[in-house]
């Protein structure tokens, strides 16, 4: 029963990681843009949410209505004014630009919010749980998991069936050829990054509800998002979701073996996947 509990808690933790990873799946997995500031942007959004929670009359979940549009605007600005200048076949310029942005954001957040850990005020949802047999399941992690499922399904459908999704996949496959077919790659990339960071806005509110955040936490979120995308397979949105589940379950099982082993176990599984199936679990056949 202890192991079943670990798996269930791992899947629920995976729901959180899936939300971190979806934006990364779109930017890194589809567009091949390496955004080192991914985690820092999420932490920035979490801290904005924490600050706004004391000012705005909404409940904690109501904050989503404010934070997601802010995230969308940040994503659009990030692509339009930074990444579109450096995007191309060579991933190095975008990596360097976002690395610089990451450092700048961390220092900006330290200046504004200090190094203290913060979280959204405790609410009924954050502490509510229900019991299945002898296993207790938190309501908030279930909401996070269901949200991640809906987001993954929605994003996958958009990429497969919408005009925007086709244009984005075309631009990611061959930017110049997409332009030759009437696609405006820069515009479509700006929209895609707005969506990717918009999803991070949702994750930011949930992260600040589930646990504490501080300005230096972005690197860990970045690593989890990268690992989930690579475990699942580049270019597959459901792959990122599955990768997040694998990472969550590995960490939960590691925690049961030894409380200090949780995060290490996740990294070990990531390394094992890299060694045995480097293209990822759900990678498309070439």
């Amino acid at each position: 029963m202890q192991w079943l509990d670990a798996v269930i808690q791992g899947v629920l933790l995976g729901g959180m990681y899936a939300q971190y990873a979806l934006g990364m799946a779109l930017m890194f997995g589809v567009m091949r843009i390496v955004n080192i500031a991914h985690g820092d942007v999420m932490i920035l959004l979490s801290l904005i949410a924490v600050s706004l929670a004391g000012v705005l009359p909404f409940g904690n979940l109501g904050l989503i209505v404010v934070i997601v549009p802010i995230a969308v605007v940040i994503g659009w600005i990030l692509q339009k004014f930074i990444l579109n200048k450096v995007v191309g076949a060579d991933p190095l310029p975008s990596l360097i630009a976002t690395f610089g942005l990451s450092i700048a954001l961390q220092n900006f957040m330290l200046e504004l919010w200090s190094a203290d850990t913060r979280s959204l005020p405790n609410s009924d949802i954050a502490s509510a749980s229900f019991q299945i047999g002898s296993i207790y399941v938190g309501l908030l992690p279930v909401i996070v998991l269901i949200t991640a499922l809906v987001l993954t399904g929605g994003l996958d459908a958009v990429l497969r069936f919408s005009r925007f999704g086709r244009g984005l996949r075309a631009a990611a496959a061959d930017t110049e050829a997409a332009a030759m077919t009437g696609v405006d790659p820069k515009r479509i990339y700006a929209i895609a990054t707005a969506i990717a960071v918009g999803i991070l806005g949702l994750a930011a509110v949930f992260a600040a509800l589930r646990a504490t955040v501080s300005p230096s936490d972005g690197s860990a979120q970045l690593i989890y998002a990268f690992e989930a995308v690579i475990i699942g397979g580049m270019g597959s949105v459901w792959g990122a979701f599955l990768g997040a589940m694998v990472l969550g379950v590995a960490q939960a099982i590691g925690l049961r073996i030894d409380p200090g082993l949780g995060i290490l176990f996740g990294h070990l599984v990531f390394l094992a996947v890299l060694a045995t199936r480097p293209e990822g679990i759900m990678a498309r056949k070439k």
Binding site: R169, A173, D174, A177, A178, M180, T181, G182, D184
Partner: protein, 244 residues
């Protein structure tokens, strides 16, 4: 035909960064005309097409479309104006099906599918194999079939001018014939075709007029059927410059 050519270039110069590849190219093409651009490797033919199509920077007045200066307009805007390109090497979207490759052109075309001359059904009638393979990933198709998709994709942009860059490259003679047989049908809709081709015989046969390029300059131009083989050889290899 009106007096204004549908597409013209005026002293077009250009290249890649500091490297100048084109030296004052003057060219024009009328609606429904097929113009071939021949020349050896490195003559500047593909660079010329890319410069017209907004893939390389040029001055605004160097390219005119329907009499309006359009030089330097980004490629995706050129598609909306009515120019499409079949690029060298086909450049299809790997990981997507035949149908999806075509849908991208329809999504961004100058006119909606039903309002322009070209529909998927029409193209599937011209290339029946594509109807059979429409749900297959593009990478599963042969080179010839991929070229058919590339031409169909460009036509679904409903262009007034079609730029074709080496569409016979690497294909079997039977497939080349099949592809070249549809060019008269395309021009019958009033679409002008600029045909970059290394096979001189093929280019002469398929075009109304031809231009020969050498080292970034036009060395010969005239009505395709009137130009002698000797004149082409001289212009192609640079023994002397000639005008037929």
């Amino acid at each position: 035909m009106s007096d204004t050519p549908i597409l013209s270039t005026h002293g077009l110069t250009g290249g890649y960064g500091d490297f100048q590849a084109l030296f004052g190219i003057d060219m024009h093409i009328d609606a429904g005309e097929v113009v071939a651009l021949i020349g050896a490797n490195g003559a500047g033919k593909s660079t010329f097409l890319k410069s017209i199509f907004g893939l390389l920077p040029v001055d605004r007045d160097m390219v005119k479309f329907e009499g309006n200066p359009v030089g330097g307009t980004p490629a995706h805007m050129m598609v909306r104006r009515g120019i499409a390109m079949v690029p060298e090497g086909r450049r299809l979207f790997v990981g997507m099906t035949v149908e999806e490759n075509l849908r991208i052109a329809i999504d961004n075309a100058r006119l909606p599918e039903g309002e322009g001359p070209w529909t998927r059904e029409h193209l599937f009638d011209l290339f029946p194999i594509l109807r059979e393979k429409r749900r297959q990933p593009i990478e599963d198709l042969s080179g010839g079939q991929q070229q058919m998709v590339a031409i169909s994709r460009a036509l679904l942009c409903q262009p007034k001018v079609l730029l074709c860059d080496e569409i016979s490259l690497g294909l079997a003679p039977k497939v080349i014939r099949e592809i070249y047989e549809i060019l008269p049908e395309i021009s019958a809709f009033g679409t002008a075709i600029v045909l970059v081709e290394q096979d001189v015989g093929l280019a002469r046969e398929a075009s109304n007029r031809l231009y020969c390029m050498l080292e970034g300059r036009i060395t010969l131009t005239g009505v395709s059927q009137d130009i002698s083989r000797d004149a082409i050889a001289a212009a192609y290899f640079g023994a002397s410059h000639a005008v037929a």
